[in-house]
């Protein structure tokens, strides 16, 4: 921990030095007001963007875990309370649906020389956001245990179950698997992962009608349920944070963990160097003979508010471009899986990058997905505890989802 503190301090000092190069920002005037989620890699970016403050330019940052509850009302007024909203593929939808996002085509043309084409988030012809980091859940495995058993690292869920069975019958661990199955957001996210891996769809093409209650949906749930047989009985309360602790305590051999948390598992302060060193990172597994990894890919990015002056929009875009410039990614290679130009990804980022390379699909950027995710989160726990059938659970999800989208005016 001590070390971590020092590194952060050194990092902060570097930022200060970098900040002296205001010339690079080249913003003459304007007001930059940033709203975003509160975690370290975001803070890295906003600290850099803050360095653009000068006599004519103000930069104000508000990072809060409540950002998604604040963003819609804050951007609705004119002029908007914030000029920049940091979002991810799920949290951009409410902004798009309420028409609060400024198309960035002109600004990208003017200031976007450093952007890679795949950083541009488009809907139709409009560039609506710029992505700068990626994330996904992928496999973390105990190489030492696999070696002892003499098996290759599993790459599909079917193989994972076989290996789990071996670990159990060898008496190494009673519950060798773990997943973030906490009822609510996490459980729904895991369903999305698996469902994408099963080749499933969430909606009927071109409409808000749900398309879950079918073979792919049932298969998804059954696979999830089978996996729980090898998980600690508390599986419905396990979050990503808790899973990390379980893994580092040596309770778990194979798990599907968030790529953004690699540093916590493999870093010097993990609390269990033996396990950290034995860990193998691998892309998310596939299932049911499909080639698509069972993981949704996430990106974090920024949008510019619509209801602000062109001057502020320009200043904000420039400040953010400075915040995510290639230099920044190179100075902080372990902070995140940057999607930024010239980023030389370290080994720790390979789990996410390979999952993407194998063709995993992005988390759907659809206006209905938030409602679907919420319905999944509340309605699946009965099935996961064996209190109802997969078909009944999927029916409940669809019914709950439909009630929500009707209220939102997205279906009738």
């Amino acid at each position: 921990m001590k070390k971590a503190t020092i590194t952060t301090l050194v990092g902060a000092t570097l930022t200060l030095f970098a900040g002296s190069a205001i010339a690079e920002c080249n913003i003459s005037s304007g007001s930059v007001r940033i709203l975003g989620n509160d975690f370290d890699s975001i803070r890295t970016v906003t600290d850099q963007a803050s360095a653009c403050a000068s006599s004519g330019t103000t930069v104000r940052v508000n990072l809060t875990t409540e950002h998604k509850n604040i963003q819609v009302p804050a951007l609705t007024i004119t002029p908007a309370e914030y000029t920049v909203a940091l979002i991810a593929n799920n949290s951009i939808s409410p902004l798009l649906s309420a028409d609060l996002v400024r198309p960035l085509n002109d600004l990208v043309e003017k200031y976007g020389q450093d952007l890679l084409p795949n950083q541009l988030i488009r809907t139709g012809d409009d560039i609506v956001a710029i992505a700068f980091m990626g994330n996904a859940q992928h496999l973390f495995m105990r190489g030492d245990i696999l070696d002892d058993l003499g098996v290759e690292p599993p790459a599909t869920y079917e193989e994972i179950i076989d290996v789990a069975e071996m670990i159990r019958s060898e008496g190494i661990m009673e519950y060798p698997l773990a997943a973030t199955y906490e009822a609510g957001w996490y459980l729904a996210a895991e369903f999305v992962n698996m469902h994408l891996g099963m080749g499933g769809q969430f909606f009927e093409a071109g409409s808000a009608q749900p398309a879950l209650n079918n073979e792919a949906g049932v298969r998804t749930l059954e696979m999830m349920k089978t996996l729980t047989e090898y998980m600690s009985p508390e599986y419905l309360t396990v979050t990503a944070d808790e899973m990390k602790q379980m893994y580092l305590a040596g309770e778990v051999a194979i798990m599907n963990q968030w790529g953004s948390m690699v540093a916590g598992h493999l870093g010097e302060d993990s609390g269990n160097q033996q396990i950290s060193e034995a860990t193998i990172l691998a892309p998310a597994p596939t299932a049911h003979g499909n080639n698509t990894p069972a993981a949704a890919l996430w990106w974090d990015g920024f949008t510019i508010a619509k209801n602000i002056s062109d001057e502020d929009a320009e200043a904000s875009f420039q400040a953010m471009m400075y915040g995510i410039r290639p230099d920044m990614a190179q100075q902080n290679p372990n902070a995140a899986t940057w999607l930024i130009k010239d980023f030389d990804a370290p080994d720790t980022a390979q789990g996410v990058l390979q999952t993407a390379r194998l063709g995993a699909r992005g988390y759907p950027m659809s206006p209905f997905m938030g409602y679907m995710h919420a319905a999944l989160g509340t309605e699946l726990s009965d099935f996961m505890q064996g209190r109802e059938s997969a078909e009944q659970a999927l029916m409940d999800v669809e019914a709950s989802y439909l009630a929500s989208v009707r209220e939102a005016g997205l279906a009738n």
């Binding site: 921990m1 001590k2 971590a4 503190t5 952060t8 989620n37 509160d38 975690f39 370290d40 940052v61 508000n62 990072l63 809060t64 875990t65 409540e66 509850n69 604040i70 009302p73 804050a74 609705t76 007024i77 309370e81 990503a240 944070d241 602790q245 379980m246 580092l248 305590a249 040596g250 309770e251 968030w258 953004s260 948390m261 540093a263 916590g264 870093g267 302060d269 993990s270 609390g271 269990n272």
Partner: protein
């Protein structure tokens, strides 16, 4: 009198009673004392899934810092992540909320206790219904107007909202206290030529202090522990302690930041300890004065 009763208690009863009390104290205080102890350890010890005894022995703490106790959590929270700023904002918010709540509450509570008209009952019942409304629903309703009026994010906004949310409870409690103070007191003062307000200010309030202090403590606790209002209505610079602690926990926890939260919670309890020690006699005598009537 009390003392003689104690002396005459049969041995069996007093032993059972003491045992029960000791048991309760363990149950009540143990989680907190455990937290105080743990706040000087590293995350791998305090939040260990291997063995809870690590939190006592601190093996990882020794491994990572070289000593069995570390102030890293406190240093991280107070210095690196500016917890002092949140502490200062909390002081402003809690002191203002308590003071304003009490001023409005004593005025209103006094009027409710002294008027025998039917509408006082309706006001009291409506206030109860108001208190039943979940705070998060209220707060979501404020967001858009507050942004439009450009008052979102500022401390006074959160203070006024907390005062309003706290009014039903303050009115009820203070109204009950005023009921227990004889009417003759202020009426005779008014016969002597005081106005209603002078009688209230100079005759009633001096005997009301215990009640005011008790209500003040509960108002204080409400403002101090609030998350629903402050997390949504304050921007980062104006954050109070509880949302700040929540931000240490984050959406996904950062290495070591959990211990910042633990250290912050322990630090946040210290002023409360002093407050309770200072006011404990008044809390008790305060509630006594207003034999609160349902």
């Amino acid at each position: 009198m009390e003392q003689t009763t104690v002396n005459r208690r049969p041995l069996l009863l007093s032993t059972t009673s003491s045992l029960f009390l000791v048991l309760w104290l363990i149950v009540a205080a143990f989680p907190f004392l455990w937290t105080v102890w743990g706040s000087f350890k590293v995350e791998a010890d305090f939040f260990s899934r291997e063995n809870w005894q690590l939190a006592i022995t601190g093996l990882n703490t020794i491994g990572q810092t070289g000593s069995a106790f570390t102030g890293d959590g406190y240093q991280g929270a107070w210095i690196e992540r500016d917890f002092w700023k949140a502490a200062w904002n909390t002081v402003i918010v809690t002191v203002s909320v308590t003071a304003i709540s009490l001023v409005l509450g004593t005025l209103g509570g006094y009027a409710l206790a002294r008027s025998a008209r039917r509408y006082t009952l309706w006001i009291l019942i409506t206030a109860l219904v108001f208190r039943a409304m979940p705070h998060i629903t209220l707060v979501s309703g404020y967001m858009l107007p507050f942004f439009e009026w450009n008052v979102w994010g500022a401390l006074p906004t959160a203070i006024i909202v907390l005062v309003a949310i706290n009014q039903p409870f303050a009115l009820w409690m203070l109204h009950s206290f005023f009921l227990s103070i004889p009417k003759d007191l202020d009426e005779s003062a008014m016969v002597d030529g005081c106005t209603r307000f002078q009688a209230f200010r100079q005759v009633v309030i001096p005997v009301m202090w215990p009640g005011v202090i008790t209500t003040g403590l509960f108002s204080f606790l409400l403002a101090y522990n609030d998350f629903a209002v402050t997390a949504m209505l304050l921007n980062q610079d104006n954050q109070t302690m509880v949302p700040k602690i929540a931000s240490f926990l984050g959406t996904v926890q950062t290495e070591g930041a959990v211990m910042y939260a633990v250290a912050a919670v322990v630090s946040a309890t210290v002023p409360l300890f002093m407050l309770v020690m200072f006011f404990q006699r008044q809390i008790v005598s305060g509630l006594t004065a207003g034999a609160v009537k349902g």
